[in-house]
Amino acid sequence: MSNNLLALLPEIILTLTGVLVMLAEPMIAPGKSRKPLGWLAILGTLASGFAAFYQLQIVNPGRPITAFYSTIQVDAFSIFFHLLIASIVLVTLLASLDYFEGPVTHAGEYFALVCFGATGMMFMTSSVELLMVFIGLEISSISTYILAGFRKGQATASEASLKYFLLGSFATAFFLYGIALCFGATGSTSIGDIAAKLGTTSTPLLALLAIAMVVIGLGFKVSAAPFHVWTPDVYQGAPAPVVGLMSTAPKAAAFAVLLRFLFNAAPAYRGHWIILIEILAVLSMTVGNLGALLQRDVKRLLAYSSIAHAGYLLVAFTSIQQDAVSAACFYTAAYAAMNVGAFLVLTQLSGYDEQARTLDDFTGAALKRPVLSALLGFFLLSLIGIPFTGGFFGKFYAFSGAIHNGHIGLAIIGLANSGVACFYYLRLLAALYTRPVKEDAALLPTRRIAIPAAIALTATAAATLALGIVPNHLLNLVQRAAPVTLPSLTVAPPASALPPTPATEVTP
């Protein structure tokens, strides 16, 4: 197999799957079930995940696969994110198979768009040329803009889609301007060349401006405060499974780009960008957690919680190179497991129309849906960061790295924020287990959970639990991934580079 084909195998499989689903969609008579298309997309995602796993077996530490004139680089870092994105997409597809049964006539587009979006995200993580990163970013963004407004008859859905589109494009312009200035400072858009020339550039001011612009552009994408304004509105208006997907997978990809750019291309300016990252982290944690306190809508509450989590993740960036990358990767995986899980439970609890929205609507949900409520409770506890859940170790690695590197103030602010966060998570948890005041609070549909959705829920819960009890498997993988982002690739592999377990088992 040629190197080019091998390097892009997961992306190629997903693209072909998406195209196939798109082609098959009009063949199915209107009104017929679109489930077969969903299964096709699931098979494609599985195949793509296995392709990424195959790459992991053959890629050597320190010797990545490069392709397409060194614009694509497949290494443990990119493969980790490929596996993570494939797992997120897989559980989202499984959970939304039955979600679109009945009221939706164009569910095939959903499955195809999810595949295309995932392709773009995977592209972002394996590109070492900013042009390719930009294209991947746009593939993933355009797909998610459409997905956000998927319930197109509803006014709220179009509004969410529009807001996401406008602010997303605004952010893209900043990201592009950053790339342009970077090109101006170094004469190249390849991360390797930038790394070599940025430190010795004759225009350090231009370089600083470029880094700031790129951080701002990606800050929008990961919804870090003060670039978070779109998040609550979009999460409220978009369908719950889509929110589960877009609050985790595109963010993981954007964080991957940010890690590669900051640690690989711009280590010379670490002293400068670390200040920027600290400001973003503190603002995100504070704005996210204080904002969540005021919310009555459950999806808005989780949106503010995701802003706060972006802040915790940014805390990890302040650590030294290797610790920072592995802590950030671990946090992304843990956050993905618990947040996708929480939104999948919401999908099941509130149904397609999402009549149940506010805390009051969910009051007493445990009486009607005991298993789902228990699961949601578990995911909320993980989002708080209770031991024996993935959220605990995520926060632990992020904060301990920051403390070891003298960012004690940042860690204290983070821990104080975690304390504030307890309040609103526990308020939602308490609402689930409170007897409803009015008897007719029957907004929650009582559909049985379909088997694919049950598998997806079990997988996310198992992953959250596994990351909390045996984090070592994933930790080995991320520690193998971390050195890749060092400025030079000549580093020795870490001692703990054991053959890792398939991440599809650890991080659905």
């Binding site: 709220t156 592009l176 190249s188």
Partner: protein, 100 residues
């Protein structure tokens, strides 16, 4: 010959006008146009730097930006039409169903 800095300053001014208009304007189409203005400012920056470095890659980048902007415009206008169908307005101040 026009110095390179002139182009860069012009691009920076265009970018700032675009960003300012994005924040101030209330019509969705105008907001969308201001994003396009920002992208074109980026393109101008790329072309200027490509000339400065004698590197063709900057100009290639411009083509990709234009293509992607066209794709984005297609999706964006479709979203705007979908919104107009359900809300009968293009004023962003009246698109305010999503709140706490």
């Amino acid at each position: 010959m026009v110095p390179i800095a002139y182009y860069l300053v012009l691009a920076a001014i265009l970018f700032s006008i675009g960003a300012g208009a994005f924040l101030i304007k209330r019509n969705v189409i105008t907001i969308f146009m201001s994003i396009e203005l920002m992208l074109n400012a980026v393109n101008l920056t790329f072309v200027a730097f490509a000339h400065m470095w004698h590197q063709i890659s900057g100009q290639i980048f411009v083509f990709f930006v234009m293509v992607v902007a066209a794709a984005e415009a297609a999706v964006g206008l479709a979203i705007i039409i979908a919104l107009f169908r359900v809300r009968q307005t293009l004023n962003v101040d009246q698109v305010n169903l999503l709140k706490n």
